[in-house]
């Protein structure tokens, strides 16, 4: 565990010694702040209009009208931003020749991958926690439900964890960071839009495509519905990415 901690520390500090982490976090917060502000403004104006009709006013739900679309918007921002976080994880080591240092140390490949992955998860966590700060005001001045809000953020974290799992895999393939980022983005987008194809498919094929799509699993989480199937889905994706990374590194050394 101590060895993994060393890798996490080194990776985490590396993120902040280059502009990447600052730019990714800043852009993410800027966009999340903009989306949140727009949604709250829209929610306010709708509330004022519906205040004259007690029946409709009863139906207004901040979780559904603000947080649910907010999480959906953030998921797209994560899809754009996280490949930039994962692209350097192994690509840079390969390019700088530092992988020889790591792989000739007594650390196992699993420990190295775990350390790097956890460091990127830590950055994701920081991004999500910071993006939640504006939402605190809705709890101070309004009465949203806490559990669906937390489930939505858990969904974002799980989604991000799956994205980073795929990202670390592509990063282990190429020593060019741009190539890693583009391949990660392409893969994520493909899994995102699988449900579009699924709508026009039939039978088992439709079920398979829908099950594989990021969108289908994320939708229920944004509404505050927690299903272990979704948890298993995202964790499987993340582990599959890490497993492939391990296989790539192992096989490259045997080639």
């Amino acid at each position: 565990m101590k060895a993994i901690r060393s890798i996490i520390k080194k990776e985490f500090l590396s993120y902040f010694s280059s502009p990447i982490a600052y730019i990714v976090i800043f852009t993410f917060l800027l966009l999340s702040g903009f989306f949140f502000y727009s949604l709250v403004s829209w929610f306010n104006s709708v509330s004022v209009q519906l205040a004259q009709n007690p029946y409709y006013y009863q139906q207004i739900n901040i979780n559904q009208m603000v947080f649910s679309p907010f999480f959906n918007n953030l998921s797209i921002v994560l899809l754009l931003m996280l490949p930039l976080l994962s692209m350097r994880l192994f690509s840079e080591e390969k390019k700088m020749g530092t992988e020889e240092l790591l792989f000739t140390s007594p650390l196992s490949i699993t420990q190295i991958i775990t350390g790097k992955y956890l460091a990127s998860l830590l950055i994701l966590l920081i991004m999500l926690v910071l993006s939640a700060i504006p939402a605190v005001f809705t709890f101070i001045y309004g009465n949203p439900e806490l559990v669906p809000f937390l489930v939505g953020y858990l969904g974002l974290f799980l989604l991000g964890a799956a994205f980073l799992g795929i990202g670390i895999f592509w990063s282990s393939i190429s020593e060019n960071q741009i190539v890693s980022a583009v391949l990660t983005f392409g893969t994520l987008l493909l899994f995102w839009v699988l449900s579009w194809v699924g709508y026009s498919a039939h039978g088992l094929w439709q079920s398979v495509l829908n099950y594989l799509s990021f969108f289908e699993h994320f939708d229920s989480l944004t509404k505050g519905i927690f299903d272990t199937t979704d948890l298993v889905y995202y964790l499987s994706f993340a582990f599959f990415g890490l497993f492939l990374t391990h296989s790539v590194i192992q096989s490259r050394r045997w080639r």
């Binding site: 890798i7 520390k9 500090l13 240092l101 000739t104 050394r253």
Partner: protein, 308 residues
Amino acid sequence: MIETEHLQKKYGDLVAVRDLSFKVESGQIWGLLGPNAAGKTTTMRILTGFLPATSGKAAVAGYDVFEQAEEVKKEIGYLPETVPLYPEMTVEAYLGFVAEIKQVPGARKKAAIDRAVEITGLSTVRKRLIKNISRGYRQRLGLAQALIHNPKVVILDEPTIGLDPAQIVEIRQLIKSLRGEQTVMLSTHILAEVTQVCDGVVIINEGQLMAAGRLDELTSAYREKDGVYLRLKKIDNESLNLFRQLPGIDSAARDGEEIRLEWDRNTDRREEVVRFCLDKQLGLLEMRSLALTIEELYLRIVSGGVEQ
């Protein structure tokens, strides 16, 4: 301390290392010589556990490189050809990180960094970012990371490449200071480095072992003739002819300002030569043995295709 037996490494159809067997005793410094693409880096990568071999055996510090890779990695310090540095880290933070991944206990970490900084002369740049230090310091830092956990075996891939002459001398001194305490294997293109630093050499070409042994043994084994260089007050054809008539002398020829005498390598004619010079009053000023230089040895083995 380092031993390989019939080591082989293939990249697809390309055989990078074939049937390589050699042994390096504890506490010695050995050079790994060979032309470009001879398989030096591949051999070093196999010994450090970075690459697995296709077949054969390798052992470092008593551990099998393939069966007990983790133990081997604990006992090895490795400086790859490209010094593995993180430019955005400070020298001290980098050494701290390496100490951690090389599993130096927390209580000994600071002392290990201090020692590595001191022996490699990095104290003046200790707090500086690696991207801001010179090439010479980077090379030293590469050595410092290889030595930080006080390994039993140190493997250095071209440790003096790209350094200026003063830095080369410093690094060689540093490597020489490891003799006795650590077993060192270094690869180099600079043949003079081998004679100055190494106790023995392993010469490989196209992945194949051409020769291995102590330097003095190899130079003696590959010498076809024994002989001497003589410096006389005056060299002329008459004196050359006199030497040619001397029994047991196979050849006498002028070599610049000296005369080169050769005889069968199983005999020693030095005493007779001196006596002859004095008797004939040839004005002998200096006599030195006709030793095979490392350059001659290398060329004879690699270019001449001699195999031992």
